[in-house]
């Protein structure tokens, strides 16, 4: 019998410990496939965040480093500047990138650092138990906003792509979502562009991927997919926020 589907060589054999319905697995697979398709696995150094995907250093089948919470873009800078022949990606959640590491991501983008950043926005802190994230929607419940995020006391969410698009530095910024097969394919296209930009020495690329956290959201996986496609996409519009290749033409 012909094998038509299997684990891509860009992922290790280790069993991933994500919850049912979690979007991390989908994005991991896309990256794992791209490492092979683009033939970069053997020259890639990946950066795992702090959060649920801290174990990404176990899952991606390439050299990996696990730095302090939020500091991925700074570590990526040190790696890329000393090993420009390597492909360096930083995989970060919303607590990691949009709370703790706000300064690091802004400055890496402003420098147009030649790295690839994958930003998973699921509007919640998963690993620590469903606390409010910088991206938690107004009115959305979490374990530190039990009656729903009160914008008068807890402020507004941060839209990372829009914020970074205010800078001249970044080369490529896009927001995608992994709720339907069509959107997963769109996400893969965006991630491929983000890696290709680095291969072509174009500079800083970030792909924000809206994703699910059924456990943190208190929903079933089916409910979560639906809520992702509706509420999340409504607050965080999809699309390309910066593509300097268009300006170059």
């Amino acid at each position: 019998m012909k094998k038509i589907f299997g684990r891509p060589a860009g992922l290790t054999e280790i069993l991933q410990r994500y919850c049912p319905g979690c979007g991390h697995g989908i994005v991991h697979r896309i990256i794992g496939e791209l490492l092979v398709k683009l033939d970069i696995r053997e020259r890639t150094i990946g950066i795992a965040p702090v959060g649920c995907s801290v174990f990404a250093d176990e899952y991606f089948n390439c050299d990996m480093i696990q730095p302090p919470h939020g500091r991925g873009p700074a570590v990526a800078t040190g790696l890329k500047r000393t090993r420009p022949e390597c492909i360096v990606f930083s995989y970060q959640g919303d607590g990691d990138l949009a709370a703790m590491g706000t300064a690091e991501i802004i400055h890496a983008a402003a420098r147009n650092e030649n790295i690839t950043v994958i930003f998973i926005n699921n509007a919640i802190f998963g690993m620590t138990g469903g606390q409010m994230a910088p991206t938690t929607l107004p009115g959305m419940k979490s374990t530190t906003s039990v009656k729903g995020r009160d914008i008068r006391k807890q402020g507004y969410p941060i839209r990372v792509c829009e914020m970074l698009a205010s800078l001249d530095g970044p080369y490529y910024l896009e927001r995608c979502v992994v709720d339907t097969p069509k959107n997963v394919i769109r996400s893969e296209k965006a991630l491929k562009t983000a890696f290709m930009n680095q291969i072509d020495n174009k500079g800083f690329s970030l792909v924000e991927i809206l994703s699910t956290c059924p456990t943190g959201w208190g929903q079933t996986p089916i409910q979560a997919k639906k809520w992702l496609g509706e509420a999340m996409v409504q607050y965080y519009p999809l699309g390309v926020y910066r593509d300097r290749s268009k300006e170059e033409k």
Partner: protein, 355 residues
């Protein structure tokens, strides 16, 4: 003999770092060490190295983590408040057993403090500084020549033991000018061996992971215990100090960095007046030169610890001598710098009027 050049201490650090084959610097401006990033930005550009002015000291230390994890010699410099910001990163780097070089040109604290020379970061430097069970190899220069030579020593020790190394200078050493004898043996960065742990892409080998965590039951404890073994080795092999006129001494001054220079002058004043006084200058602050203290405390009745702080190294002197000797203290905190006559007076206080 190689050429002697009149250099600022901060500039001597830069040339020493480059002579050691380091081609990566990341840092953030802060007085009194600004001459380091300024000159580094020019020199790295000249020789094709990397200079990054960062958004913060937090970013700087993490860029070092990346560059050093890639197997390259990497350094940053800062002064006290900036070094406090780096503690998170230093803890992770120590936890991942990665060699880096951090230079602290210490200024008055706590808080914003002032920009005058100080030694009040001794505890932070010698007790790890961040969270977790770890130590950083800490060298204390006392001249521009040391500032030029210690970066190389620091990198060698850091790499030998896979551990972060710190050079603890102060504002006076950084701002002072002295002749420096430049080495004509420069380390070629390309001649440095590839490390078996460095990240470079997994072509033709098993993939590598650099990290400081292990959540498996008991595993982190094992890892820490292995690190403690490393520390014991460092303690055994790397204690460095300089002892002057200690053999017949009734009193030995203990001082490092700037205070060792001031105390050296005070010792000369005291010897001229017939006092038997010596100077013991720790060069490694961690590992502290415990052995020489343990030995000296059997015959030296008095130690006078001189520090530009409220008294931090004095704890190590008490521990190392097991309080067999009398331990006296003279300290100038908050940017105060002791003068030779001032230290001489303290000697008189202990040993009585003129001999």
């Amino acid at each position: 003999m190689a050429e002697k050049k009149l250099m600022y201490g901060n500039h001597a650090i830069v040339e020493g770092v480059l002579a050691a084959g380091c081609r990566f610097f990341a840092g953030y401006p802060i007085t009194p060490q600004n001459e380091i990033p300024e000159l580094m930005s020019i020199r790295m550009n000249e020789i094709g190295g990397v200079f990054v002015q960062t958004g913060s000291e937090v970013a700087a230390i993490n860029m070092l983590f990346g560059a050093a994890a890639a197997g390259k010699r990497a350094m940053t410099s800062s002064s006290s408040p900036g070094i406090s910001l780096m503690q998170e990163g230093i803890s992770y780097i120590a936890g991942a057993d990665i060699p880096v070089l951090v230079v602290n040109v210490v200024r008055g604290g706590p808080g914003l403090g002032n920009i005058a020379p100080a030694q009040s970061d001794y505890y932070q430097a010698t007790r790890g500084g961040g969270h977790g069970d770890y130590f950083t190899i800490t060298l204390a220069p006392n001249s521009a020549q040391d500032l030029y030579e210690f970066p190389r020593l620091a990198f060698e020790l850091a790499e030998k033991y896979r551990n972060p190394a710190l050079i603890l200078a102060d504002g006076l050493l950084g701002q002072m000018m002295e002749p420096v004898e430049l080495s004509d043996e420069l380390v070629d960065p390309n001649s440095l061996a590839e490390n078996e742990w460095a990240l470079s892409g997994c072509k033709g080998r098993e993939r590598r992971i650099v990290r400081s965590y292990d959540l498996r039951p008991g595993k982190l404890e094992e890892w820490n215990l292995r690190r403690i073994e490393k520390y014991e080795k460092i303690k055994k092999n790397e204690q460095r100090f300089e002892a002057t006129d200690c053999d017949d001494a009734d009193l030995v001054i203990v001082a490092y960095g700037t205070c060792s220079r001031v105390s050296d002058a005070a010792v000369k004043m005291a010897r001229d007046k017939g006092f038997k006084v010596g100077l013991l200058r720790p060069i490694t602050l961690w590992p502290f030169p415990w052995d020489v203290f343990a030995d000296m405390s059997k015959r030296i009745e008095n130690f006078l610890v001189v520090e530009m702080s409220c008294g931090q190294m004095i704890d190590d002197v008490k521990l190392a001598t097991e309080c067999r000797s009398k331990i006296h203290f003279h300290g100038r905190p908050g940017g105060g710098v002791p003068t030779p006559p001032e230290v001489y007076k303290e000697i008189e206080k202990v040993l009585g009027g003129a001999q």
